[in-house]
């Protein structure tokens, strides 16, 4: 007999565990949402009770079940202008700080990992062109990486649905998209401005080639890694970054669950993390 009932205490135990692991906190008001997904996973893993399922979640060596569940409990649709307060922060705070100590002969380097199908790096490109005055004085290199070569090919084509570009301001839509069969294509100059490369953030040989990055966007990836790979990935990014460089994580992610290497930095639009300037 299996008992998929989740008691209030089960919920509390789970919520505390999940908070400790991910930094995401589910209040009791979210019980319906959480219970539904827990029950679904209990059924699919053939667990006969909450206790049984909870043990799998805590101790499974591969961490696969925790990853699955995290996927169900978070929104991972990527679209243009997603979490754009960070792009605001890029323009208003991070870039001004970076250029204040940057060699003017060298380009600013921004790295999106994972880029997924390209919405994020293209959004950044548009933000830079539309909102940042510094673009007249500085060269910017925008590098976008993902582990999945198929998704990189999709990104390079740059064709998106109406839904994906729903948050793009109308004037930008006119300037940077044209209608093509199958959707809206990002203009050629924007596509050309982004360099797509395949990188596995868990592979030292891949990451070693990345150097002198000033700003990293690493959103909605580390939350799916286990503790060990998350920490190591943060260490690789540290290596790729110039001292004083910034890193932005997804809104449900916190460096507090990942690594003590970075300094917490509060800007008006967002909290970001900085590789300490003085650190070697």
């Amino acid at each position: 007999m299996s008992d998929h009932n989740i008691s209030e205490h089960d919920f509390d135990k789970f919520a505390e565990f999940f908070y400790r692991k991910t930094g995401i906190k589910f209040e009791p008001s979210k019980r319906y949402f959480v219970d539904k997904r827990l029950t679904e996973r209990m059924r699919e893993t053939g667990s006969d009770s909450f206790r049984h399922y909870f043990t799998t979640l805590r101790f499974q060596a591969s961490g696969e079940e925790l990853q699955r569940l995290t996927n169900l409990l978070t929104v991972n649709e990527t679209y243009f202008m997603r979490e754009d307060y960070q792009f605001r922060c890029l323009i208003d705070s991070m870039l001004p700080d970076v250029i204040s100590r940057h060699d003017p002969r060298k380009p600013i380097r921004i790295w999106c990992i994972p880029s997924s199908s390209g919405e994020e790096p293209y959004s950044i490109a548009m933000y830079l062109l539309e909102e940042w005055e510094g673009i007249n004085d500085w060269d910017v290199e925008l590098i976008a990486s993902d582990i999945d070569t198929q998704i990189l090919a999709t990104a390079q084509k740059g064709i998106y649905s109406e839904r994906s570009i729903r948050n793009v301001p109308a004037s930008w839509k006119r300037r940077y998209f044209k209608s093509v069969p199958g959707g809206h294509q990002v203009s050629e100059d924007i596509r050309d401005a982004v360099e797509f490369t395949r990188i596995n953030l868990s592979e030292p040989a891949d990451v070693r080639s990345m150097r002198n990055i000033d700003i990293i966007f690493c959103r909605n990836l580390l939350i799916y890694f286990d503790d060990k790979s998350r920490k190591v990935a943060a260490e690789y990014m540290y290596e790729a970054m110039s001292p004083g460089g910034y890193i932005c994580l997804g809104h449900t992610e916190s460096m507090g669950r990942i690594s003590p290497l970075y300094r917490v930095k509060k800007f008006p639009a967002a909290i970001v993390y900085q590789r300490p300037l003085e650190a070697k």
Binding site: S254, G256, R257, P260, K266
Partner: protein
């Protein structure tokens, strides 16, 4: 209403402290380690911090040291730990704590010091 941040990796400790403080009419927020505490401290406004020493990712000393570099965030801090060692005392004050207490803390003792640190009349 005064707002207090509890920083401790043990959920039972956070709940216990929360119960005491909420019963006395304060509002409370929680963090599991120093990094999360910094994020909350820098974005929120707290009248007092209650901080454990041993925590993963960033310990209590480091948290207070970084917090004290921020001119806007100088609210008093109580450091709590499991040992009464002289060395920990010294290090806590050096890091920017205003008071050092040894666990486990009794509710009355907690309230006396919390009120004192926030400059309130004791009840």
């Amino acid at each position: 209403m005064k707002h207090i941040l509890i920083v401790d990796d043990a959920s039972t400790v956070r709940m216990y402290h929360r119960n005491i403080l909420e019963a006395a009419g304060y509002t409370v927020d929680e963090a599991v380690n120093g990094i999360e505490a910094l994020e909350k401290a820098l974005t929120g406004k707290f009248d007092l911090y209650i901080v454990d020493i041993n925590m993963p990712k960033m310990d209590g000393y480091e948290f207070l040291q970084q917090l004290r570099r921020e001119p806007m965030h100088q609210a008093p801090a109580v450091m709590v730990s499991t040992e009464a060692a002289e060395l920990d005392h010294t290090k806590a004050y050096f890091s920017g704590a205003n008071l050092y207490m040894v666990k486990p803390i009794k509710p009355l003792q907690m309230m006396t010091y919390v009120r004192l640190l926030m400059g309130e009349e004791s009840a």
